[in-house]
């Protein structure tokens, strides 16, 4: 068990394994996406209140879930990298940031497009959208800090501390934004009201959530491999394997 773990953490093994795993994540993700989109757009009945506009939920909610999940994953990877000085964990954290930021952008944009027919305006200071926006700022800060160091080891460790501080702050942000919004009488239609969701409406959502997770995993494999190459550019194994191919 431990031997397997150490092998995984060694860059040449990780580089090879990630390449092997990738197709097993990518193709199921694409298949599930097709199924989920078909289920969401065709098979699910229209919502009695929001009509067909509710179908946006099938892309909005998975993006929003991923944006948060990726941040937590980034912080955990950063903490592992900081504590056990594991290069691979830092490579994972570095790869997570741009992907998570894009999921956050998606959640924001689809949320505001959804808001237009529901609220009559593109932007409402809804608690969920507001905390997504703050999450985007956290991602941007992380990436800006990482980019401002020339030395990759220092960039890894400094940004790891920021990711950990940020993840401690995320629940506080969520709670404070909800509290802040509860003081006002917000718009009565909530884009995420779970009251009247039937089973035929739920399963495409779960399928698409799983599809997004797998798809993220597939992209992460590629990105982590790229980051490994960047961190290992002066090692013998890399020179050998590059010359062979």
């Amino acid at each position: 068990m431990w031997l397997w773990f150490y092998q995984l953490a060694s860059p040449p093994h990780a580089y090879r394994l990630l390449g092997l795993w990738r197709p097993w994540l990518l193709w199921p993700a694409i298949a599930l996406m097709v199924i989920g989109v078909y289920g969401g757009l065709v098979m699910a009945p229209a919502d009695y209140q929001q009509k067909d506009a509710f179908r946006i939920i099938y892309v909005h909610v998975p993006s929003a879930s991923l944006s948060l999940m990726v941040y937590v994953m980034m912080a955990v990877a950063a903490a592992i990298g900081l504590i056990w000085r594991m290069k691979l964990a830092h490579a994972v954290a570095a790869s997570c940031a741009p992907l998570g930021a894009w999921f956050t952008v998606l959640a924001l944009v689809t949320g505001s497009i959804w808001g237009k027919p529901m609220w009559g305006t593109w932007w409402e200071w809804d608690p969920r959208l507001t905390s997504e926006l703050i999450l985007l700022f956290l991602y941007l800060g992380y990436m800006a800090l990482r980019a401002s160091f020339d030395d990759i080891q220092r960039a890894d460790r400094a940004s790891a501390i920021l990711a950990i501080v940020g993840v401690v702050n995320v629940p506080i942000v969520k709670y404070s934004v909800e509290w802040w919004n509860s003081l006002h009488q917000g718009p009565s239609i909530s884009v995420t009201s779970k009251s009247a969701i039937a089973g035929s409406m739920v399963w495409p959502l779960l399928v698409l959530l799983l599809a997004f997770v797998l798809y993220f995993g597939a992209i992460l494999c590629n990105r982590v491999r790229g980051e490994i190459l960047l961190r290992e550019r002066n090692t013998a194994w890399l020179a050998e394997s590059s010359l062979k191919s």
């Binding site: 900081l82 956290l138 800060g141 501390i161 501080v165 942000v173 709670y175 404070s176």
Partner: protein
């Protein structure tokens, strides 16, 4: 002889205060900035106190946040530039507590004057006297949180060239919950409602940040100082 933890922090605190008082002009800069920013709002919006009253808590809090941010630039940089910080990291003394003492000194110089000045600014913006205790209390707790969070950001960016914009980018999103609780507490007090909820939350956050923040600050400082 190794000094105890308390006297170590006392030494750092006294040193920082002494150094700061040699440059009076720099000490009052955040305070002047705070007053100037709060002056901008009546000029930009309206001289009518009735209109200003509604947004007064927000004005005071945003101005305090920006003033605290402005002062962070000089929190660690002089000591890093002249090599003092490097000696501290090698001294074997607990770096986190030394940095906490420095942050406390920073708060005494840049946070406390704002807290004392706030009722005056609030009065000028039409805030009723009944809200002053909550204004002072929320700012006292809140600027403490801002100083610790800002200290982490300053320690992370101290070795980065032109780090001040980056510092704002890192620290402001982290500080948003403090702004929410602080400004809402004052708002509630102005409407005659109880503000103990948000004040308790601010106090809890201050305790959380004081207990965990120095560890993060020290880790960040070690990364910034090593060459």
């Amino acid at each position: 002889m190794q000094p105890g933890v308390g006297s170590l922090m006392g030494l750092v605190l006294a040193r920082d205060l002494r150094l700061a008082f040699r440059h009076w002009d720099q000490v009052i800069q955040p305070l002047v900035f705070f007053v100037i920013v709060t002056t901008l709002f009546p000029l930009a919006i309206s001289p009518s106190l009735d209109e200003l009253r509604g947004i007064a808590p927000g004005i005071v809090w945003v101005a305090a946040m920006l003033a605290s941010l402005l002062a962070l630039e000089s929190l660690f940089r002089p000591d890093v530039d002249d090599g003092t910080m490097e000696q501290w990291t090698l001294s074997g003394q607990p770096l986190s507590l030394m940095l906490l003492a420095k942050t406390l000194a920073h708060w005494l110089l840049a946070g406390l004057p704002l807290v004392i000045m706030a009722p005056l600014v609030g009065y000028a913006l039409g805030m009723p006297e009944s809200a002053w205790p909550v204004l002072v209390g929320s700012l006292a707790l809140g600027t403490g949180c801002l100083s610790v969070l800002g200290g982490i950001g300053a320690a992370l960016t101290v070795s980065v060239r032109r780090g001040s914009v980056l510092l704002a980018l890192l620290v402001l999103p982290l500080e948003m919950p403090i702004l929410i609780f602080g400004a809402r507490a004052v708002d509630l007090a102005m409407h005659g409602e109880s503000a103990t909820g948000p004040l308790n939350l601010l106090a809890a956050m201050l305790l959380l940040f004081i207990s965990l923040g120095p560890v993060a600050m020290a880790a960040a400082m070690r990364i910034s100082v090593e060459s």
